[in-house]
């Protein structure tokens, strides 16, 4: 596509995004969180913020799973149990994972890197583009998530996601947390602890847990605010996006890979 075509496309996406944002604002009870001041939960999602994460892989420790465990607790993923009769090996491929630890070795230098990998909250999310019903959507504040009431479970978004960030619920759930609705036959993924955003709480479960271990490899914050800790980190450290070639402008950035 030509330069101009791309621009127009971007423009259209922005308009669509704005429309989607307005729609979300109408239906979703939400709070504006800016510099940690909270406003009532029925205020619209603030389009002036863009939530994101910065991962400093140098600080991410081998063998540590604090972020993964915290995510499971926060979002009720640990309430998911293998259905009776499921083979453990199969279950391992079918249970939901919102964030995972990956250990890499550079083929040239042999250097090892550890990092957590989750939904990258793309600015131009392929999962949203392909979703037939619009269940997969991007909020005005940059969070990409699934509306679990309109998802028909076609899994096209999982095919489209370059990061394999999404999980399909393969069995009936007997237990879940009221602030994280989940359900059999729907797709889900990391939503940057969206309930915390809507309640005006700081940070995400993973970033908090990582800080508690003393590693502090995950930084959560507003990418649109130049004075936020995350923006200052991105300004001072060389970071990159995974699969930068796809030009998705991800909301999750990595240092040291």
């Amino acid at each position: 596509m030509s330069e101009r075509g791309t621009e127009i496309d971007r423009e259209r996406r922005r308009l669509l995004g704005a429309a989607a944002g307005a729609g979300v604002a109408l239906v979703a009870p939400a709070v504006v969180v800016r510099a940690l001041e909270t406003t009532p939960r029925d205020a619209p999602v603030d389009g002036r913020v863009r939530w994101g994460l910065a991962i400093d892989t140098a600080k991410c420790a081998a063998g540590c799973t604090a972020c993964v465990d915290a995510c499971a607790r926060e979002n009720g993923l640990d309430l998911q149990h293998p259905p009776e009769g499921a083979e453990p090996a199969d279950w391992a491929t079918q249970r939901a994972v919102w964030v995972r630890k990956v250990r890499l070795r550079d083929d040239q230098t042999g250097r090892e890197t550890n990092l957590p990998l989750m939904c990258q909250h793309c600015e131009h999310p392929p999962c949203v583009d392909v979703c037939p019903t619009g269940a997969s959507f991007k909020r005005a504040d940059g969070i990409v998530m699934v509306d679990r009431h309109t998802c028909i479970g076609c899994r096209y978004c999982m095919m489209a996601c370059p990061y394999k960030a999404r999980s399909f619920i393969h069995e009936a759930l007997s237990d879940q947390l009221s602030h994280v609705p989940r359900g059999k036959g729907c797709v889900e993924s990391c939503n940057l602890c969206v309930h915390r955003r809507d309640f005006g709480l700081p940070s995400t479960a993973c970033a908090e847990a990582c800080a508690e271990t003393g590693h502090g490899a995950i930084l959560f914050g507003d990418l649109a605010d130049p004075d936020s800790a995350i923006s200052r980190f991105l300004a001072s450290e060389p970071t990159r996006q995974i699969r930068e070639d796809l030009a998705l402008n991800t909301g999750v950035r990595y240092a040291g890979v």
């Binding site: 491929t93 630890k101 990956v102 037939p132 059999k184």
Partner: protein, 415 residues
């Protein structure tokens, strides 16, 4: 040359109901499998968070593109003015409808929330090619029904060609739309290829025709209606050309992606050490699905014998399923290349540790659901040819229209 007479399929009731019974059992088993998957959840299938589309999608895509290919016969007859194919037009339309219905059944019943189909029909995301396909499929049904009417009703005569042209264009859009479902997945190496579109069109011609010829031969043999040597030669030559086209696009597809440096990992894996996928590719797609049928169809003696032509059709169909399994499943099993130049040593979510492909072991319910779709397509066809006049009385050489139209024999007189 005589007027073509169409007649309902006149089998002895016992035989006919026997056939219907077998097909109904296939459909029933598919529905039971669906009920089981729906009740338990998808964990009873082999599909998982890495291979998210499995056997049901192989069958669904096969049936949908075969549907478009089945209608090709009617197009050749009316749009491209080859009267010899005209007597086949009605069956071609019926089969197109039936195959599409079968494919859609499988696709819908595999959804995680099939009961939310209404949501899919009322909430459109117009950026999604999937949503567009819903229009393409429903539109296709409507057009084919009009087309059938124009072929069957005397009053429809002047509309045959315009409706046929429209159906042809719509059909190409439908196949391209189905192919684009994969083409839009830019993040997956296997689908990042422009050749995928034309390859799907060629596949649809070949698989649709193979199904058509088999159904035609079976229907005619059961009812002792003759298929002359001229018609058989025509059909088998056409099939051979389509199979060659698929083979050609397959070669181009795999050569171009083998030369694109980025994809060498995927290509090398698929062509040489992809295990079952390598077998599916070479033995299923290339050998049994392309080369052997070509050998039969171009054989000077075997190529003229009906049982051999039927065998070639069966092989083309099986090869087609193998090909789609490679296109759909192998490309998901191969790990996404997230970190070029790095090896994944450990991962909490099967990211292809050490380049390992993701596991996928199809289970019985998935297969039954797929066969249920095939059963539905054949059931609709069997009922259709019984109650309405879809099948010509005879395709013997002497009753067939001429092969090609010329200026002296315009279409109105030929028909």
């Amino acid at each position: 040359m005589k007027r073509i007479v169409y007649r309902e399929w006149r089998l002895a009731p016992a035989r006919y109901w026997g056939i219907l019974g077998v097909l109904a059992v296939m459909v029933g088993a598919g529905l039971l499998a669906f009920a089981y998957m729906e009740h338990e959840g998808h964990w009873v299938t082999g599909m998982n968070n890495s291979v998210v589309w499995g056997t049901p999608h192989v069958f669904a895509v096969f049936l949908i593109i075969a549907s478009s290919g089945a209608l090709n016969i009617a197009s050749i007859g009316s749009v491209f003015r080859k009267p010899i194919y005209k007597p086949l037009g009605r069956l071609s339309g019926l089969l197109a409808l039936a195959l599409l219905a079968g494919g859609l059944m499988v696709l819908v019943l595999d959804l995680g929330r099939p009961e939310r189909l209404v949501v899919a029909l009322t909430n459109y995301n117009f950026k999604s090619i999937f949503a567009w396909n819903i229009f393409l499929y429903t539109g296709f049904m409507a057009i084919v029904i009009t087309y059938l009417w124009s072929m069957a009703d005397r009053k429809g005569d002047p509309f045959i060609r315009p409706v046929g042209v429209f159906a042809l264009l719509w059909r190409l859009a439908l196949t391209t739309g189905t192919g684009s479902i994969f083409g839009f997945l830019v993040a997956r190496q296997a689908y990042d290829a422009a050749i995928l579109g034309p390859m799907f069109v060629a596949m649809s011609f070949a698989y649709g025709l193979a199904v058509f010829v088999l159904v035609l031969m079976f229907g005619f043999a059961e009812d002792r209606r003759p298929i002359g040597a001229r018609m058989l030669r025509r059909l088998k030559n056409l099939l051979a050309v389509f199979v060659l086209a698929v083979l050609y696009f397959t070669l181009v597809y795999h050569l171009t992606s083998a030369y694109g440096a980025k994809d060498q990992g995927l290509e090398g894996w698929l062509l040489f050490d992809g295990g079952v996928y390598t077998t599916l590719f070479w033995v299923g797609w290339i050998l049994l699905g392309s080369l052997v049928p070509l050998g039969i169809l171009y054989h000077p003696v075997r190529g003229a014998e009906a049982p051999w032509v039927a065998a070639a059709c069966v092989l083309v169909i099986l090869g087609g399923l193998a090909a789609l399994a490679v296109v759909i499943i192998a490309s998901q099993a191969y790990p996404l290349q997230l970190f070029p130049g790095k090896t994944i040593l450990e991962s909490g979510f099967l990211d292809g540790v050490g380049g390992q492909p993701a596991p996928y072991h199809p289970t019985l319910p998935e297969l039954l659901l797929g066969f249920g779709g095939v059963g539905l397509a054949l059931l609709i066809t069997a009922v259709g040819v019984r109650v309405l006049q879809f099948l010509p009385e005879s395709l013997a050489d002497e009753v067939l229209p001429i092969d090609e139209e010329t200026i002296e024999q315009p279409v109105a007189k030929a028909a």
